[in-house]
């Protein structure tokens, strides 16, 4: 799949996940979130795997694994009441990192196009 297609999917899924989150459509939000992270991870892989493997792992850890762990923690806490602290603050982290991931991928793509 060409990178620009993945970028379009990432952009659309980001907007869709934002809208579904805002209107509390949990199932739609889960699906769009999955699509967003899948498309962005694949895009990062396509753009960085050959020459910038460390950058790829950094992005995958900070922008993909970390927010997903945050979300899983929040969901577990919501249903199992695991922690004393109110874990809803992790949503701030998630919503700061999600657009950042898209912007990072977009910038890498633009730099690649310029250098090509």
């Amino acid at each position: 799949m060409p990178p620009y297609t993945l970028l379009i999917i990432a952009a659309v899924s980001l907007i869709a996940s934002g809208a579904s989150y805002f209107f509390a459509k949990i199932k739609v939000f889960s699906l769009t979130l999955l699509l967003f992270y899948a498309s962005n991870t694949f895009l990062s892989f396509l753009l960085l795997h050959d020459h910038h493997i460390i950058l790829l792992y950094t992005i995958a850890t900070l922008f993909v694994a970390f927010p997903i762990i945050c979300l899983i923690t929040f969901v577990l806490d919501r249903y199992c009441a695991l922690f004393c602290i109110d874990t809803s603050f992790v949503l701030v982290i998630v919503w700061l990192l999600m657009p950042s991931l898209f912007i990072v991928n977009l910038l890498i793509y633009i730099i690649k196009i310029i250098h090509a």
Partner: protein, 381 residues
Amino acid sequence: MPESHKKIFISAGDASGDIHGANLMRCLLEKDQHIDFYGLGKEHMKQAGLHCLHDMSTKSLMWLHVLAELSTFLKIKKDCICFFRQERPCAVILIDYCGFNFYLAKAARKLGIPVIYYVSPQLWAHGPWRVNKMKKLVDKLLVIYPFEKPFYDTAGISTTYVGHPLFDEIYKEGVDEGVVSELKKQLGETIVSFLPGSRKQEIVRLLPLFLKSSVQINQTIPSARFLISCSEEQNFDLVNTIVKRSTVPYKIVIGKIHEVIKASSLCIASAGTVTLQIANYLKPMIVVYKISPFAYFIAKPFFATPYIALVNKLADKMIAPELLMYRENYTWLANQATQLLCNDQKRQNGIHELSLLMDRIGKPGASERAAGEIFKLISPA
């Protein structure tokens, strides 16, 4: 032989919790003089006889402040747990401040000490799923709003509605009528008061909005005069700095919140307990809360109640105009204020609804009832 003393651990972190805690301690001591109170509190609780393990006066649980004081909070928690282990208090009473008190509840429950939570965090407003945490951590819940009881009962928590301790304070303190008549003499009959809250962040967010709306109100009603309630002296400089930028003259009153409300024709307030104080004096009010667009986006899916004003939530209908803003909608505020000042029918309707509400909830005796419930739990049958 001297009668053995009961030890009760009590914890409050914020200013209102400190006042409610002190009143509760006095009511418990009236029932049994042989109670020793240990725990966390501030000036009022210390005056009521608290053996203070840590003074909470300078501790803040707001956002990054927690991180800055993390080591202090860990030390406080450790000391409290040591106290639980060594002294085995007959009960742990926690007052609001759930960000920290939930940790103490967990520690006390682990040691088999009964946990009583007085003034529940507003889980019904945002994040109602946290009721499961409450269920795990608390033996008895003493709630201050009538709608809270069915909410917690449904979750299976033993809950008693005791009423709002604020009304104890109001009836105890009373109003200085001299100050009220002096304010009216100085400012005239059409006084609009602004009550932006006690937190600095709230003042910074709301006061400029209030001031912008006052310019519009003043254009429509030139006789209107404006009062700003500065609930704490430490916020005076901040309020004064913001007010200096405005073109309309204002009078700033430090403290004396009851007098400010009583002298007013209309109150424009931040969402919070202050709306109950305004309702107590049957004054028409507009309730505003302002958050950043990002915070609104994050929090929106978790709003569990359609109202931001306590009076509207308590009445379960919109008896006072309210708006949760994420941008400065001062025109809305000015329009609502003008309507409430000029439209007598609307004004009287609002006052009538407030009087119905106050007939239902505005009674003193909450601390006494809470003490009674606690006493039942700690006294052997």
